[in-house]
């Protein structure tokens, strides 16, 4: 394992792993246009997963809370955004791009606001009584997830729901013989913008400094005069809002969603958080991009292995780096 670490470090460290995976895939795929299409699809998928996973990673790292109910925010975000978009279908089909954007903005805003409010409620009612007790956290948050899924069934029914996309995000554009879906490019750019905002918040602001310190040693942050329990609530609300936003974007990507969406995404989200390293936004991004790229490349090269590729990726990375690629705490 030390030899692998030395080789990886010599070639630029773990941040370049996605590049290495992409180069290997280029050799195996052969056709450059297919490779570019798959790479862009993988990056877009990675960014959407990053949005869903980043909040969980912060909650895990800072609060030491194993929140299996995180995917409930993803599901609710998806269904709320889909409902708003359905209600504004007239705006979505309009030739006026401003109406398209307004509909999309309102859908995302509704999902984010719900995520924040539900996150506040979830932390106060479900999480607070079980701090420092992992077993009860797992049981109660899984229970909350089941309740949330049943609520979605009751509110939206069990039939798959079609998600309408704004007109300006439909279709694809061509660069040479490379096809790029507009929605994927949009998802990638949005994910990147959120990552940059999170990165700057965590690394250039006092509140970010407190969060990073709290991930490492909560007790010491309190001994320096800060009420970390209040910070917990803020981070939980942020994490829930990010998950709801991720769910909203994912809904537009899939265009057909079911109440099981959150539960299905949860496995991927946990894999990303574990691969990336708990509490690390950079690690979560790295893990999400690795998972997105692997899913697309393996789906093309060996479709029968597509479902297991991420599990194999996680196993290999954990054998190599048990704390993940970029853990927040060294």
């Amino acid at each position: 394992m030390e030899t692998i670490t030395k080789i990886v470090t010599r070639f630029g460290g773990v941040s370049l792993l996605p590049v290495a995976v992409a180069l290997l895939a280029f050799v195996l795929i052969g056709a450059p246009s297919s490779w570019v299409t798959l790479t862009i699809a993988g990056l877009a998928m990675g960014m959407m997963i990053f949005l869903m996973a980043s909040g969980l990673s912060l909650v895990f790292g800072l609060m030491d809370v194993m929140n299996f109910g995180h995917s409930a925010f993803i599901s609710f975000g998806a269904f709320i955004a889909a409902s708003v978009l359905a209600g504004l279908s007239g705006w979505l089909g309009s030739d006026l791009i401003i109406l398209n954007i307004a509909a999309l903005f309102l859908a995302f805003a509704a999902a984010i606001l719900f995520g924040m409010a539900a996150g506040w409620f979830f932390e106060a009612v479900i999480i607070k009584p079980v701090y420092k007790d992992h077993l009860r956290q797992i049981l109660i948050t899984m229970g909350a997830l089941i309740v949330a899924e049943q609520m979605i069934l009751a509110l939206w029914g069990g039939a798959p729901m079609t998600v309408h996309r704004p007109q300006f995000l439909e279709g694809s554009f061509l660069i040479g013989d490379i096809t790029i879906e507009v929605y994927r490019a949009f998802a990638f750019m949005l994910g990147l913008a959120v990552y940059v905002a999170l990165y700057l918040t965590l690394n250039r602001t006092r509140i970010g400094l407190l969060i990073r310190a709290g991930v490492e040693n909560r007790e010491m942050v309190e001994a320096l005069g800060f009420r970390i329990d209040r910070l917990f609530v803020g981070v939980f609300m942020l994490g829930s809002a990010l998950a709801a936003m991720g769910g909203a974007i994912w809904a537009g990507y899939e265009t057909l969603i079911t109440p099981a969406l959150g539960g299905e995404m949860m496995i991927v989200v946990f894999i990303v958080v574990i691969i990336g390293g708990l509490g690390s936004i950079e690690g979560t991004l790295l893990g999400a991009i690795m998972v997105g790229l692997m899913a697309n490349y393996v789906g093309y090269l060996a479709p029968k292995l597509a479902l297991t590729s991420n599990m194999i990726l996680m196993m290999v990375i954990l054998l190599w780096r048990p704390n993940g690629l970029k853990p927040a705490v060294k």
Partner: protein
Amino acid sequence: MSILSLKAMKTDIGQYAVLHDVTLEVPQGGVFVLLGRNGAGKTTTLRSIMGLWKPSAGSVIFRGQDISEMHTAEIARLGISFVPEDMGIFGGLTVEENLILATAKGQFDNARLARIYELFPALETFWTKQAWSLSGGQKQMLSVARAIIEPRELILVDEPTKGLAPAIIDAMADAFREIAQTTTILLVEQNFEFAKSLGRDMAVIDDGRIAHSGSMADFAADKPLQDRLLSLSA
């Protein structure tokens, strides 16, 4: 005049009673040393004062105010800082970030920073390095520097010499002497020579109770008493 009074303080950790009856007066100014064998209750005493473990009975009086029910953050804001046994530094943060986090307004007082550079020149050298990359002695310097980056009334220091090289211990002793000119230090220590060189007053805790208290000079001169209370090597 006492800056800190512990009155019949009891602390339980889980189902175990660790402190049974700690009554102590820490005078203002200088270094007050709390001595005791492993497991006697020294660290628990400091953590109980800081509110990290809540006393189950008794009271902690700081400057005339009962702080035993207060939140740790509120206790810290009263002017008490804590240097824990494990140093409690944030390894993923730089030296600068570790220190700026401990400032009240996110800005350094240049005069205090200059004083810290004088006390611990290594911190200026490694200013932009992540704290995990520092040596054990440098981490301890950072932990102490963090405790004095803002004006404090009382500093609780838990075994600062543990695992440090003799040269670093000497430097640390010099630093504590200077800090004690303006701030009261409650020092928990097992290294008796180090404690003796710094302490003006002292107490010995044993099995969760104060077994002796008085002046360090008297205690240092009474070898049989030391042997009886500490079972320490000279």
